[in-house]
Structure formats: C-alpha cells, structure tokens
C-alpha cells in the first residue's frame, strides 16, 4: 500500500499534476495580489503555519492508509493446533474475517500444496480459529509442534478443484 502511494505521487502524471497546480496557484495569486507590495510578517507567519498544519494532516492520512487493512499479510502461520476441536489457531487478521472457506497449504520443496480445507470457525479479539473440514491426505498427521506449524500457511484462497471436492462431500 505504502509503495503504491509513493509510486502514485512520484509518477509522471503526479509530476504533471504538481506543475499544473503550481502554475494555477501562481496565476491566481498574480491576478488578485500585488506581489510588489509589502506584507506584514504576521500574515506571512500565519500562512506558513496553516501550510505546515495541512501538510502534517495529509502526512497523517497517508500514514494511516499505509498501515490499513491492505498492510496485513494474506497468509498466516498457525500458532497452535487444538486436536480435540480440530482447529488451527491463527493471529487475528482482517483478511480472514469475511472469508469463510480457507486453504491450509504446506510448503515443501519450494511448492505450496493444499493440505487441508478449513472454515473460519470463530473470530476472537486477538486470534481466529480455523476448523479443518477436509483433509486432502497430504500429511500423515496434523502438525502440532510449533516447528511443524511453521510449515503450514493459511490463506483465504482455495482452488476450484478443492471446492468441487467440498461440494461432493456435502451432496
């Protein structure tokens, strides 16, 4: 997100907009203001203060946008597996709030493969529970230790073939 904002500002069109805005402002100023006349320091300082304030507010808005929802990761490592409930516990991530079906991928030999198909079971204040619905049979047993869990990635992306499998199971 932050990279996108920076790219937009420092792009060719951003530069064109800046030159245009500067020309427009200088044109308006020279139309209505006599630039050869003296101005008081009081007004100069006031204008400077207003400009600084607006700049700071805009910087704050850009900072908030950069740290918004788009800044969160699209995949999460489970921090725990609860065997009795068959749920993976992941850190709270806004990208998973509205995604009911999620894929649990295992990363092996530089390839991600779908190991489990899960659903968002419960959203807590700081964590989200993902209930395993379908075991794709890729792993002999569900990873439980913290080292094993590091190899699992939960993503809100599910292949169509897996969805078809889920549909067959329901019917």
């Amino acid at each position: 997100m932050s990279q996108r904002i920076i790219n937009s500002i420092f792009s060719l069109s951003g530069l064109a907009f800046a030159i245009g805005a500067l020309g427009f402002l200088s044109g308006v100023v020279t139309l209505f203001v006599d630039t050869s006349s003296n101005i008081s320091i009081k007004w100069l300082l006031f204008t400077f203060l207003v400009a600084i304030s607006i700049t700071l507010i805009l910087l704050k808005v850009i900072f908030d946008l950069a740290n918004g929802v788009g800044g969160q990761s699209f995949s999460e490592n489970p921090i725990r597996f609860v065997s009795e409930e068959r749920v993976f516990v992941i850190r709270r991530n806004d990208n998973f709030l509205n995604n009911i079906i999620v894929g649990c991928y295992v990363h092996e030999n530089e390839i991600d493969r779908l190991a489990y198909l899960g659903v968002v079971h419960l959203v807590q204040d700081k964590v989200i529970q993902i209930k395993i619905e379908i075991d794709m049979g890729l792993l002999d047993k569900v990873p439980e230790s913290s080292i094993e869990l590091k190899s699992i990635f939960v993503r809100a992306v599910v292949p169509v073939t897996a969805l078809a499998q889920l549909k067959n199971l329901e019917s």
Partner: protein
C-alpha cells in the same frame, strides 16, 4: 474480560439447555441468540512470547427461550442432519408361465430415504462458560 462476553452460564439443565446470569433487567429479550463458549488456556504468541488471549472452545449456539429479571434460559437451536440413505431394490417376478418363455422379470427400484434431523447438543457445556451475543 472481553467486551464481547455478555454473561456466564450459572446452571446446565440438560445437554440442550443452559441458564445464564443475565435477564430482562440487562436488556435481554426472548429470541436473542448467543454463542456459548468455554474458556481454554491462554495462548502465547510463539514469535514474541507475548500472551494473546484465552482460547474460546465453542459449545454451540443457543436462543433465549425464557427470560426472567436476572437470569435467562437458553436452548440450542442448531440442527444436524444425518446423511440421506440411498436404497436400491431388485425385485424378480418369476411367474411360472412367463418365466418359462421370457425368463425372470426384474424390477429395480431406487429410493432415497432422507436422513434424520436432530437438535445439536451444547457439547461439554458447564457452569462458568461464557455467552456471547450474536
């Protein structure tokens, strides 16, 4: 305690009904729906070592069926359905005359018996569990 926690289970009538410590004086009305959860152990972030929060173990969903001033009775409302049963029947009609000339007359009947629907119990509900407003 999380802001989401509305009340606590004070009695378990049976596996389908619980009583919570909130009633009409707390704004509760009949028909309001709740998620009943038990609290597990506290989760620790493996990367930072910081405590996150207690794991909520879902017992089930329940609706307020009887509300008193300080307590309310909640009953589970989720139904589970067993799988449909598919039956294929082969009937052989072999009347002696027809059998002699035409062979056995076979009729295949396929029927699907819908699975039974049953109320899901509040799995493992106990006193001290939490009711979260849905």
């Amino acid at each position: 305690m999380s802001d989401r926690y509305f009340g606590k289970v004070v009695a378990v009538n049976n596996k389908y009904q619980v009583v919570i410590n909130k009633g009409s004086s707390h704004g509760l009305e009949e028909g309001q729906k709740f998620l009943i959860v038990g609290l597990g152990d506290i989760l620790i972030d493996p990367d930072t070592g910081d405590p996150l929060e207690k794991l909520e173990i879902v017992r089930g969903r329940a609706v307020a069926v009887h509300v008193q001033s300080t307590i309310a009775t909640l009953k589970t409302y989720d139904y589970q359905k067993n799988e449909d049963v598919r039956e294929i029947k082969k009937v052989k009609a072999n009347s002696s005359l027809a059998y002699a000339f035409l062979g056995a007359d076979e009729t295949i009947t396929e029927s699907i018996k819908p699975g039974d629907k049953y109320l899901m119990p509040l799995e493992g509900a106990e006193i001290g569990d939490i009711a979260i407003k849905l």
